[in-house]
Symmetry: C2
């Protein structure tokens, strides 16, 4: 693999931007000449909910974020004038920049650990962390599933770069690369893009999964997720696709109408641990699954794709890298809503039988 | 308080129905003459997700449930012919019946405890439990906020009746009375109604709250929720309304754009523990809060209302009865969607500052 060229840039309000460049391509950003407001006035807050022992981000500034702009004002399309876009360049391959409407930011300059949430007071902290946007393509009308293999490889390279960088920063506990796709799930920009969060805490679902895995290690002497993967492969009825390095399956107790988990066949913590062949296998199976999802119904599937990555720390050692892709669409025309059982009690009720979804996805014609 | 008349009835497929009758009113149901399919073919399944240690209900039959019927085919309006409605009667005050499309049911006849989710296999169980529908009014175009005080009292009486009955049944761990209101959150029937679930397990959020409360008892010697309530009252900035028996506030670390918690000022486990004056205070403040929510924006607020009730068992002893009302509407025209941070990682990011919502709700004119 040729090392990817990464060109750093700076936006008008001081935010970092990084261009990831395909071999043979050139990258020529221009100055960002927009008048942007000062960022230091927009710090969000973390508040600790003692009734659930979870942090909640209170990000009032996001009420004003860009909301479904017309296509000719898309802030993610190339902006060669330096006056209209978050990407001041005639063109780009893949670009990453700090979110202008960040829920988590380094604006306070600190990387200090969160306060221990003890005592009788209302516990809060500056919402230290990082929120980045990643544009998968300069083509406004493209999608991840449509990317060429080299373009998708470049996105994976960018994810690896950001994971390594953010994990090395003080005060960041978890790096979360994800994509929200589809107006049905509230996406306000249709240009193909994802986001990368550096959280200053372990997210609740990650914490819960790691707790289950530690208990499993104690009782079984093995890794929980490796055991689940082996059992799903042995059962077979929920497996959707496989290649040398990876397996994609609908989990036995799927919560969502469409839910596919993609695991490397070898236990690793994150994208950085994969070798070159495994990275190609990952890119291949991920494109395959997204293509199957888009062909499931007459219109492309709204989905959320979540990379579960871990550090090699005591707390996260049992974490097994994988990607979970979920959709709220439960038929060609109907969405699943998270109503009271799910939203208020976290008790999931699925209308769809996992084996049926797996069979549907296996049956999608290339 | 006059004891409420409760008249039991049976629907064509054997489901239970209960009419709750206001003093002075009469209740005259007719035979349900519909041809309904056999219920024993529709058992759902519980599956245990070992990666999060949670049960998930797989209820494939619900894909076919009634979906936004035209008003003249509403199954919750009175049906004096016995051929069109779930409520075969010329009129009714409040009625409760088993959900025809139940995610949890007693169709298997067992009330045995769930299997211990241990071992290396895929753990599943019949989805034993109970799903009931409660119609708040026979008026299709009404809403809970519009109910007269005696009518709302009757709903509360019905909730108490169902809570006592279901909690006494073998295999039911938690009784959950709730209302989903608004097409924006996926409600498929607009007739004013709620639901009552008898879960065969403690729901994940309840379990988490009880774990936090047990830890608080150990470290502080006091009830966590009583302490939170006292601190919210002392802080004052998030309190929305109070009366003799109850306090309504926006919690310090609210997850939702609109979120109001209503606590009795005295620690009780559930509606059954309240005395007559407290029940009236509860009815009064709940109607007040729902009215404020409906007047917050030009159109009525979509909301979910969740009664957190507990049993006096070892596991649930620290549970403090309260109701949580949440909405996904974040402005007059915009909804909050649960995207990847919330849906995949359970890390909530709110665009709204809790003190601002409390001030808005306090300022709503009667």
């Amino acid at each position: 693999m040729t090392p990817t060229e990464v060109k750093p840039w700076t936006l008008a309000d001081g935010r970092d931007e990084l261009f990831f460049v395909l071999p043979g391509h050139r990258c020529s950003p221009v100055a960002d000449r927009r008048q942007l407001p000062d960022r230091t006035t927009t710090q969000s807050e973390l508040r600790f909910d003692r009734s659930t022992e979870q942090w909640v981000v209170i990000a009032g500034l996001r009420q004003e974020r860009t909301y479904k702009p017309p296509p000719d004002q898309c802030p993610l399309c190339p902006g060669p004038t330096g006056l209209t876009s978050e990407v001041p360049a005639t063109d780009y391959d893949v670009v990453v920049f700090e979110n202008r409407f960040a829920s988590l930011s380094e604006a306070d300059g600190s990387g200090s650990p969160l306060p221990a949430p003890v005592g009788d007071d209302f516990v809060s902290a500056p919402s230290h962390g990082r929120c980045e946007v990643i544009c998968f393509s300069s083509d406004h009308h493209s999608s991840f599933a449509d990317l060429s293999f080299p373009q998708a490889q470049l996105v994976v390279e960018a994810w690896r770069h950001r994971t390594a960088d953010l994990l090395s920063r003080p005060g960041i506990e978890q790096v979360f690369c994800f994509e929200n796709r589809g107006e049905e799930i509230g996406v306000t920009l249709t240009h193909p893009h994802g986001q990368i969060f550096g959280y200053p805490y372990l997210t609740p679902r990650t914490e819960r999964m790691l707790r289950a895995a530690r208990a499993h290690r104690t009782s079984h002497g093995s890794n929980l997720f490796a055991d689940i993967l082996a059992q799903e492969v042995a059962a077979g009825s929920r497996v959707v696709a496989t290649n040398n390095g990876f397996t994609a399956f609908v989990p036995f107790a799927a919560r969502w109408p469409v839910e596919v988990h993609i695991y490397p066949n070898r236990f690793v913590h994150n994208l950085l641990d994969l070798d070159a062949a495994e990275l190609d296998d990952f890119t291949e199976i991920y494109l395959d699954i997204l293509n199957r999802l888009d062909r499931l119904y007459p219109t492309p599937l709204p989905y959320m794709a979540a990379l579960h990555q871990y550090s090699d720390t005591d707390a996260q050692r049992e974490g097994y890298f994988h990607i979970e892709v979920i959709s709220t669409r439960r038929s060609a025309t109907k969405l699943k809503y998270l109503a009271s059982s799910e939203s208020a009690m976290e008790a999931f009720i699925s209308d769809v039988v996992p084996e049926d979804v797996a069979a549907m996805l296996r049956g999608v014609e290339e």
